[in-house]
Amino acid sequence: MATTSTQPVFIAFQDNNDTRPIIDAIMADNPNAKLNEMPALVKIDCPGRLVVRRDTISELAGREFDLREIYINLISLAGEVDETDEEFVLEWKTS
């Protein structure tokens, strides 16, 4: 269910070969996401809600991806987390 909040959530990853399909997947699945690149890291900001989908990453990585693999290269995040086998969601619930 979509939130009505437009406050920014974000997720940040190390900028490396492992995270390329993850970042591409997030950008594909979240049309409002904005990619900010800094030395050695990328920060993806998105208003209200951001979803990381296992399917999309698996597709782009060309292999079955376990969503918990994102922990290895995760740097930071903002927003409330809801995590299942298929989706990792960051969201602000208040509009």
């Binding site: 406050q7 050695a40 918990r68 740097i75 930071s76 995040l77």
Partner: protein, 534 residues
């Protein structure tokens, strides 16, 4: 194979079911001890919890996955550290000035990882709920990992450069390191709920992005593969800790309306304490890094005002307000690093890293990044001090500071609305005067004076005669308390503090690399000129 010969494998559990088995599933109700005798620290703070099962685990990291992914992080980290060491990476950082940032990090921050480990061990013991107890246990292991990997990674630098070998002793004894130390001691001596609001929420969720994002990105930008790797490796755990922080807040607020006021008080207190602690980081970002990614002012705008703003907008539904004095942090963002570097420079013989004055080019950068403050308040002093250096009589502060009774910083800050006026705040408690650096710290004292009246303030202890090595005779005719106090802190003249250009690190750097020890100053020694002249 099951006894009935059924070969069908058991249905794979979902992540949620799996995690519930690990936490609630492995917990048990005590039978021969009363619950209140087992969890004795849970009531005195006044927090009311009615149902620990309402705790929602944000990250459902089961033990098998925890060890698997942590192991992978370690292998990755050590692959990089090995490559760094084998490739003489210590000479591939920008310059010897960068190394001074590592000294501050090693003596001021690494020990906090260990202090945090201790704190979470206590929570892992004291929380009656299995979910938060296991989360705290995992975090305590994480924090220990951070401490050890950071020490290990930086130890390689210590083979080549000075001032890093005695970091635990310095953490205990160098005057300004009582600031980070007292921060965690305050948290660890609180109750479990205050600790977790303090560290998981106010510090980790709201503030540590400033430490691990722009600062670590800055380490990468300055060629320090080793530091950026342990930094990001630690930060990948931090993301999990941060979600623990926000889950704690929601859980406490949803359990009982009476918790709201207490949680708000702790947010106010620990946001302010954490912010004061980060003044050290502000200085490292603006003044110590030779190549910069962003200014402290910009970082504060992004990570506190924008991202922190979103967080507090969300928490408004519980009746939680943004931290008290957040407006002061915004007023101070154009000042704090400059005020801080001024005092480190002026007291450079009493710190464990070398200092320098910003170059023309750097001052131009400050003018651009801090258009409202730098040229007006700070450029004139740096230009004046530069002139004094040229005349061979560099400015030195001649007296120890009045310290804040709570955060233990010197009272070096200025009035929120007037950067030209020192800020004076004091109170009298049971007939004795106590000084503070800010209204934030004064409020913290007023709420719990008995906790802070026996703070071990380094300046006051030096003057009482408690900071000298054994065998020193304070009645001797040539006794100099400040010189003896520096010996007690383990600070050696010409090695640990002073001007970078005179330091042994700078000389060796130029000798070993033929590159300037401070890229903003040009060569200090002939070793660089010889090379460039062919």
């Amino acid at each position: 194979m099951a006894a009935d010969g059924n070969m069908k494998p058991a249905k794979k559990l979902s992540l949620k079911e799996n995690y519930a088995m690990l936490t609630r599933g492995l917990d048990w109700e005590p039978t021969y001890q009363k619950k209140e005798d087992i969890f004795r620290m849970i009531d005195f703070e006044g927090i009311k919890i009615h149902d620990w099962d309402k705790w929602e685990d944000p990250f459902r990291l089961t033990m098998d996955a925890y060890w698997k992914y942590q192991g992978e992080k370690e292998r990755k980290l050590y692959a990089i550290i090995d490559a760094f060491q084998q490739g003489n990476g210590q000479f591939n950082v920008t310059d010897a000035r960068y190394l001074q940032a590592l000294k501050i990090f090693l003596t001021g921050i690494v020990e906090l990882e260990y202090a945090s480990h201790r704190g979470f061990c206590m929570l892992g013991r004291e929380f009656p709920g299995a979910g938060p107890r296991i989360a705290a246990q995992m975090q305590s292991i994480d924090e220990l990992r951070h401490c050890t990997t950071q020490i290990h990674a930086i130890s390689h630098y210590s083979k080549y450069f000075e001032g890093m070998a005695n970091f635990p002793e310095q953490f205990d004894r160098v005057w300004y390191l009582s600031i980070p130390k007292s921060f965690f001691e305050d948290a660890c001596t609180s109750g479990p709920f205050e600790f977790i609001v303090a560290i998981s929420f106010a510090f980790e969720y709201v503030l540590t992005n400033l430490a691990f994002m722009p600062w670590m990105s800055g380490a990468a930008f300055n060629g320090d593969m080793s530091t950026v790797s342990f930094g990001f490796s630690a930060q990948s755990d931090e993301a999990r800790h941060m979600t623990l922080g926000i889950e704690v807040i929601k859980f406490l607020l949803e359990q009982d309306p009476a918790n709201v006021a207490l949680v708000q008080k702790w947010i106010d207190k620990w946001f302010w304490r954490g912010y004061r602690l980060l003044a050290l980081l502000a200085t490292m970002m603006d003044y110590v890094l030779p190549k910069r990614v962003m200014s402290w002012g910009e970082a504060w705008t992004i990570y506190y005002e924008e991202n922190g703003g979103a967080l507090f907008a969300d928490l408004a539904r519980y009746g939680i307000k943004p931290p008290k004095y957040a407006d002061v942090t915004i007023k101070e963002k154009g000042r704090v690093s400059h005020e801080m570097w001024s005092v480190f420079y002026a007291n450079r013989d009493a710190v464990n890293f070398s200092t320098w004055l910003p170059s023309e080019e750097e001052m131009a950068w400050f003018s651009e990044k801090y258009p409202d403050t730098f040229d007006k308040y700070y450029r004139p002093r740096f230009e004046h001090w530069r002139q004094l250096e040229k005349e061979g009589k560099p400015f030195t502060c001649k007296c120890l500071p009045q310290l804040c009774q709570v955060c233990q910083w010197p009272c070096l800050y200025t009035e929120p609305d007037d950067a030209t006026e020192f800020l004076h705040r004091e109170t009298e408690y049971k007939g004795e005067t106590f000084h503070f650096c800010s209204d934030g710290c004064k409020d913290i004292f007023a709420d719990e004076p008995e906790k802070y009246v026996h703070a071990w303030l380094p300046v006051n202890q030096i003057y009482q005669g408690n900071c000298f090595l054994p065998g020193v005779d304070p009645t001797a005719p040539d006794f100099n308390p400040l010189v003896e106090a520096l010996k007690y802190m383990g600070l050696k003249p010409g090695v640990d503090g002073g001007l970078l250009k005179d330091s042994i690190d700078a000389q060796r750097w130029e000798q070993w690399t033929s590159r300037p020890a401070n890229i903003h100053e040009g060569a200090y020694t002939d070793f660089v000129r010889k090379t460039t002249n062919g």
